[in-house]
Symmetry: C6
Subunit: 242 residues, 6 copies
């Protein structure tokens, strides 16, 4: 079995070497837990360390803002975009605005998952993407939870079928300990949960791998930090949040 190295310090260790290739991983967590940063870091590691082209599907932010946010961690994707090694699929602007006109991959109707899948397919083919991050998949069914499972299955068919190893960011409310609903949780090949818990007046960050098809993995909850260089997970430390 081929594994994809996430390149996130500590994460490959707790995944026993990386994410099994073609897996679709749900990255679930409340607001402020670091899901977006982890998704970006996963792509950056791919292009800068492993020569694996990657695509960030921006459904929550303007592509311009995505580039700015990545650069704040020192992840300058521009040169990689230029040489066809990285792409942002713009599922945010619907092509409206001056800046959007300079984007290469614009989803014409972000509310329509078929429209998204079409643009995504094209981008994957163009750059030969091996990594994809969709931020967030929740956006696609926020007001229609009954279609959540169908959308995740559809994305899984495309992503896995085209050979990509993917992260689907799943936004859950701060008071919800789940991963995004039964349909979504069971459809994913893997589930990683990021937590931000108030423990005796102190916020604590932690990560737990709940499932990962095709590999054993750490069964413990690990603390992590968000630094100026991105996320660092401590595979040798455990944390208790209950």
């Amino acid at each position: 079995m081929i594994r994809i190295k996430t390149g996130i310090p500590g994460l490959d260790e707790i995944l026993n070497g990386g994410v099994p290739k073609r897996n679709v991983v749900l990255l679930a967590g409340g607001p402020g837990t670091g899901k977006t940063i982890m998704g970006m870091q996963y792509l950056w590691a791919g292009i800068s360390e492993y020569e694996e082209p990657g695509i960030y599907v921006a459904l929550e932010e303007h592509p311009v803002q995505v580039r700015i946010n990545m650069k704040q961690f020192g992840w300058d994707v521009k040169p990689f975009e230029e040489k066809g090694f990285f792409a942002i699929v713009d599922g945010f602007t619907a092509g409206i605005g001056e800046a959007a006109k300079r984007e290469k991959y614009v989803v014409p109707a972000p509310d329509d998952v078929y429209s998204l899948v079409d643009t995504l397919r094209r981008a994957i083919t163009d750059i030969g993407a091996e990594r994809v991050v969709i931020d967030s998949v929740t956006t696609l069914y926020l007001t229609k939870p009954s279609i959540a499972r169908g959308i995740v299955l559809q994305l899984k068919k495309v992503l896995s079928g085209m050979g990509c190893t993917s992260i689907l960011v799943s936004q859950v409310s701060v008071t919800d300990r789940g991963f995004g609903g039964p349909g979504v949780e069971h459809a994913a090949d893997g589930i990683i949960r990021l937590d931000l818990d108030e423990i005796k007046g102190q916020l604590q960050r932690s990560i737990i791998v709940w499932k990962m098809r095709g590999t054993a993995h750490s069964m413990r909850r690990h603390p992590f930090d968000i630094t100026d260089d991105g996320i660092i997970i401590y595979p040798d430390k455990s944390i208790i949040t209950e």
Copy 2:
């Protein structure tokens, strides 16, 4: 009373010898608890050890992926399919795609339980199936919970009527301690629950047999592991998760 040996290490012990023949067992659990692996292992034991032909009804995964997933545990079903000892009922593709064209048992309309039952009946008759796993039955009523009980009763009539001993995989959300709703829970002949609990920052796997018509069974919660060879249950160990 005839018992069907599950062949899963430790499970027959806690079932006092196996599942009573013709029982329809609900195998309930949250994401990542090992339901699919247990279902596959049950079928593999049937064909490789007990000469009992089996059918896996794939509603969550492409049949090709099912074969790959089984093979990762060393369960190569291809030769058994060829000699008519094992079959996958494809309730996933609706016949769409190249790979689907090579499948023998394709449910034309996976959303329609009659369509599923028709294909399943044909497969059972063809190979003389004694074991059936439906993964998952939840898919059949995810967006229509009010029809859940009716669907389970319908499946039960067919499966039990044709002499099969069956496992219905029931997906519940990670935050739900139930088995899939009152209609489903009471309609099944047996209920086995797999759990994955975070206990002091550590994930723990456990199994409990909640009911099994026609036999006494262990009344304790047992720990289990998922290994490279499949599930191993420890019938002599107890575990407390509360």
Copy 3:
């Protein structure tokens, strides 16, 4: 006041001698708690020990399966059916299937409570039934909870009016500590609850009589076992499940 002996070891003791005649008792519990067995045992005691003809209304199982299930406990109802001392009202098949054609009391439209009541009345009159078990009454309003109370009142009028002492099996979900909803709970003359609780990794069975019109009763929770001969309640033992 006349009392009907349940004949279930220990139960008459905790009911101070039996169920007051004509009472309609709600027998509530989650899956696997033994409700169906207790209902069958109550009828078997009636025909085999007290010369009180009885009727089992099968809404969850095929009548053929009911006979098989009873026989597993040594309760062979066939001879009693033949001499008009026991009857199964088939509210399961709607008359469909070969086996159903051999049934005497088939409810033509099991979804329609009037249709059920008609067939039930005829059966009660035919055999002079003094005991009736409806398994389960929940089925009659599973998808229409707002009509639950009306259905229970209607059944109560018929059953009590014709002199029967009855058990209505009420299925509740495993996570629900209630008895089947406010309308049903208050309409019944008596409420008995069967529980299956996981206490420190061990499943425990217990029974508690919550109300019984017309008689004092044990106010304690008692443990019970399901044996090869049916249920045995321990009236001298108490159990704490909280």
Copy 4:
């Protein structure tokens, strides 16, 4: 201020002498808590001890059964009915059945609160009722909770306006610690709650007066028993159920 003696042993003590005249008291509790018995006992005390004519509005039981149930406690209302001192308003049969034809006060359309109020008014005038028990008021809005407050206010206008001191039985589910919903709770002049709690495997009965307009009252929870002669409350004992 005039007080109406309930005549229930212990209750007048904890009410500092009785219920203020014209008050409409909500008597709330789960199934099996003794609400109906307390209502009947209140009426019986009125006719047998205090020369205060009373009316029982039967919405849950056939009037014939009401008389039987009362007689089991030695409360034979027949002679009082004959001399126009007691009446049952039949809101159960809608006049259907032989027995109903012998009833004097039959509500033609029990589902229609206007129909009930008309019959009730007539009965109050006829016998000069000073006490009224409606068992249960919950029945009147079970499937239409949004009209609950309106119904209670309407009954209150009639009952209080005609000089009666009344008990409205409010059925709540066994798992509900409320009194019947916000609209009902606030509209009543008084609230008495009966509880049946399982404390360490033992059922315990207790009563607490939550509010009573026009009088101070015990602020403690008191244990009570249901005996062959009715309810006995222990005003000198306290009980803790939490």
Copy 5:
């Protein structure tokens, strides 16, 4: 800033001198907590001690009953009504009944908030009201919670705009720790909560000021009693109810 003295023993102390003029205060609590008494006492203090005319908007009770209830505490409002110093706005009868004909301020359509506001405006102008109590505001949106905020804002515009300092009684269910819903809670200038809690089998009354625009206030929970002369709050005592 001008403060309005509530005149309720202890309350002005915990409000640092009284309610800032023109504030609209939500007085929230479950049944039996004393909200109505506190509202009446606030008005009585205004007319009998501070020469501030007041209006009681009766939405739950007949105006005649309101006068009786107030008189039980020695608060005889009749003479004040006669000299145009106190008024009851009748939002209860809709003008139906003999007694209603003698009322001066009758809301023709109590279900219509515009109708209420019109009558209220007229009464405020007539007597130059400085204090208004609406008992209860909950009634106005009980079955339409989505319009609650709009109604409270509308009342606030009128009341505050006409210079009144007002109490809006908010009825919450006994099991609800909130103040009446997010829309209402945030629209009010102040929130006072009255509680009745069962602590070890004993009912305890307490008051807490949750917010009061324009003034600091006690941040503690204080016990209070309901006496024959009305409410007495103990500003020097604290109470813990959790």
Copy 6:
């Protein structure tokens, strides 16, 4: 990265120097927690200390009342309005009333978010606003939670796009520990929560920064006070509320 100094004593310390420019910060809390005061203080600091023009969008209060409320803390915005340094966008009156006619920025249809955005854009351009407070954003979707995320994203595009650093006040119910729903929580760049908790009968105020894009921040919960001069946060103190 440019930071905007909030000017609120203690807040810039726990934000490591201020809010990153262009961030849209959700300021969430229950009733009485001080959200409005903090929003006003943020704007006042901008105009009086940092020469950063600001806009207060009044959706809950009349603009006249907003000025009065600010002045109670010594924040007299009138002169700043006159020299075009501060503006109130009136989303409250819809232009109705005499006072409203004197307002410069009146939203003609406050229920329509497009109408609000138009007026807001105009005000931002006119005064060159660098700070915006919307009090509250909750009002915009109170009865239509499904559109909440869309509205927040729309506001974010305008506010961030025009260079403003903004606070969106989010009202949550007193019993809700969340921030305003999943759609809103994830769309904001930052989340600050204000709490008012009853701890052993004593109300305690505290603040916690849950997320802030573009900067590290205190991970602790800090106590704060509301004084006559506004909010003071204690960055060196921690508080535990659980």
